[in-house]
């Protein structure tokens, strides 16, 4: 009744739910076989970093800019003046809007 045939295969939410439940049971069984004698709240509970203390989470966090730094580096000439013009002051943005609108209007109406 819930079966949908796609031509390439089928989709059935009941089968999907049963598969997920079965996988979760297997995962739980594997997890339950792990060591339980670690002492929580001690060094045994912390990651092994070759004996070094664990740094603050913020210091080891990979920033999103790491993904596109090459892009911004290549277009530095374009981005640098743009970043400088972003003052964060609302009246500056309104000024830019009015200025650009005036320029576009001038181009459309006169030129």
């Amino acid at each position: 009744m819930t079966l949908i045939k796609t031509g390439q295969g089928f989709w059935d939410p009941v089968v999907w739910l049963v598969s997920v439940a079965l996988s979760a049971l297997i995962v739980y069984w594997i997890w339950s076989k792990g060591r339980k004698d670690y002492k929580e709240g001690t060094e045994q509970d912390k990651p092994f970093l070759c004996g070094h203390p664990e740094p603050e989470k913020g210091k080891v966090h990979v920033r999103a800019s790491n993904i596109y730094w090459g892009f911004t580096e290549a277009l530095k000439g374009y981005y640098d003046p743009l970043i400088k013009s972003h003052t964060g002051v609302l009246s500056d943005y309104v000024g830019w809007l009015i200025g650009i609108l005036a320029l576009v209007s001038f181009i459309i109406l006169v030129v």
Binding site: Q44, K46, F48, C50, G51, H52
Partner: protein
């Protein structure tokens, strides 16, 4: 019943606290085909979290002292510490050096000492067997001599 007779194999984490590598080479010799400790399931592991035994070489330099302490604390209980070589036991040729924080038992409790500069693989294996006996007693919750 089966678990009673088939305990987990002995897994060892090796920590070099500033050794000249002489002891480290002898540890490798104990694992190589001539002596082949791995046939008993004894193997070196890459993290103290999987280890039963902490194997320490070197006299413990100042820079390594806090690392040794932290790694010792990261080994799950029950655990046993073996010191390989004279440097870790007394400081050896580096005795009273300005740069030493050791010997090892200044920083963490030691269960088995294997003297030598470096000790032969046979001596290392003997030390590992002693440690294994102590670990089995600890696992059974028996009293063991300090």
């Amino acid at each position: 019943m089966i678990n009673e007779y088939f305990h987990k194999s002995l897994w060892v984490f090796h920590f070099n606290s500033g050794s000249c590598n002489g002891c480290d080479i002898e540890i490798l010799a104990a694992l190589m085909p001539r002596h082949d400790l791995e046939r008993f399931g004894i193997r070196l592991v890459g993290t103290p979290r999987h280890a039963d035994v902490l194997l320490v070489t070197g006299p413990v330099t100042r820079k390594m002292a806090d690392k040794l302490k932290r790694i010792y604390e990261q080994v799950p209980d029950p655990k046993v510490v073996i010191v390989i070589g004279s440097c870790g036991i007394t400081g050896g040729v580096f005795y009273e050096s300005y740069n030493l924080f050791g010997p090892v038992d200044n920083i963490i409790p030691v269960d088995v000492y294997v003297p030598g500069c470096p000790p032969r693989p046979e001596a290392i294996i003997h030390g590992v067997v002693k440690a294994w006996v102590k670990l089995e007693k600890l696992r059974r919750g028996e009293e063991v001599a300090a």
